[in-house]
């Protein structure tokens, strides 16, 4: 899919469920692929008995990566110019996550769209809040 400026307006919302019942196995997959083997994300015994958390929890970068899927499905492959944000709350096994992009600004001068990006869990808690921009067709 490729976004065209004529099809976009400020306030447009694109939303996708990027995790439904997030599994511990997916957290382990992310450890292996990313190379971040912090046991807080894979080792239930360490996370509970040593670190004092209720369970292991997701890498912030896994949440951002899942938001990236929503973004590239929306703006097209290889079209992102920027993508960033803040990790606001932890993501736990079993969470259902919804990622949202909202059109904040269209810049016809450089053919780009600027988006607010958020990921929320099913309690309505925002776990990631940020932005992205992408090249669009005029």
């Amino acid at each position: 899919m490729v976004l065209k400026s004529q099809d976009l307006k400020v306030g447009d919302v694109h939303r996708a469920v990027v995790a439904d019942d997030l599994t511990r196995t997916q957290l382990v997959q992310y450890c292996g692929a990313s190379g971040d083997y912090n046991p807080l994300h894979s080792d239930e015994i360490y996370a509970t008995a040593v670190a004092g958390y209720p369970s292991i929890f997701a890498h912030g970068m896994l949440t951002m990566g899942m938001a990236g899927r929503m973004l590239t499905d929306y703006v097209g492959d290889g079209r992102l110019l920027t993508f960033g944000g803040r990790f606001k709350a932890q993501v736990w096994p079993g969470d259902r996550l919804t990622a949202t992009a909202t059109v904040r600004e269209l810049r016809p001068d450089d053919a780009s769209v600027h988006l607010d990006v958020a990921v929320t869990n099913d309690d309505g808690l925002e776990v990631f809040a940020g932005y992205a921009s992408a090249r669009i067709d005029s």
Binding site: S34, Y37, G68, D77, T82, G84, R86
Partner: protein, 164 residues
């Protein structure tokens, strides 16, 4: 993180896309990807995080033959080290990317890092919070910038009872 040599590999991109739950064939199917605007397999937008695999000093990877912070016979192999749950624990607070072009299999990138801004904030429970920025730029063999990453890590100055 500074990395002298980050070889971008097709199998690594496929595994990373699976791990973030992205079934887009542009990350794994060369024939399909060639037929798209991407004109070949590309890496997902946060793939560069996996450069950690190629950082020889990356602390969040067990070192062969050395005790590891995670569990084995005991809940942690680092029982004799200071607590990892309170003071001094870095939490990833922010991540920002600026893209010049997508990463592709066959790219061999070099990453150079420098410290960015530093600021403090009064935390509700953990005493003073220290935020530190690290800017890492990834270059191709011709020294052209491919991607700029800026991360913010927050550390608590004093141990906290328990982090949220």
């Amino acid at each position: 993180m500074p990395v002298d040599r980050f070889p971008v590999e097709a199998g690594h991109i496929m595994m990373f896309a699976r791990a973030v739950g992205d079934p887009n064939p542009v990350y794994s199917d060369e024939a399909y990807a060639r037929s798209t605007e991407a004109a070949g397999v590309i890496a997902p937008p946060t793939f560069v995080a996996a450069a950690a695999q190629f950082d020889p000093d990356y602390v969040m990877r067990p070192r062969i033959g050395e005790p590891w912070m995670g569990s084995g016979r005991t809940p942690t192999g680092w029982a004799d080290r200071p607590s990892r749950t309170g003071g001094g624990t870095g939490l990833h607070a922010e991540q920002h990317y600026e893209y010049v072009r997508p990463l592709r299999p066959g790219d061999v990138l070099t990453a150079r890092s420098h410290n960015g801004q530093e600021w403090t904030k009064q935390g509700r429970r953990g005493g003073r919070l220290v935020f530190r920025e690290l800017v890492t730029e990834y270059f191709d063999p011709e020294d052209r910038l491919v991607l700029r990453a800026r991360s913010v890590v927050v550390r608590t100055e004093h141990p906290v009872e328990k982090e949220g």
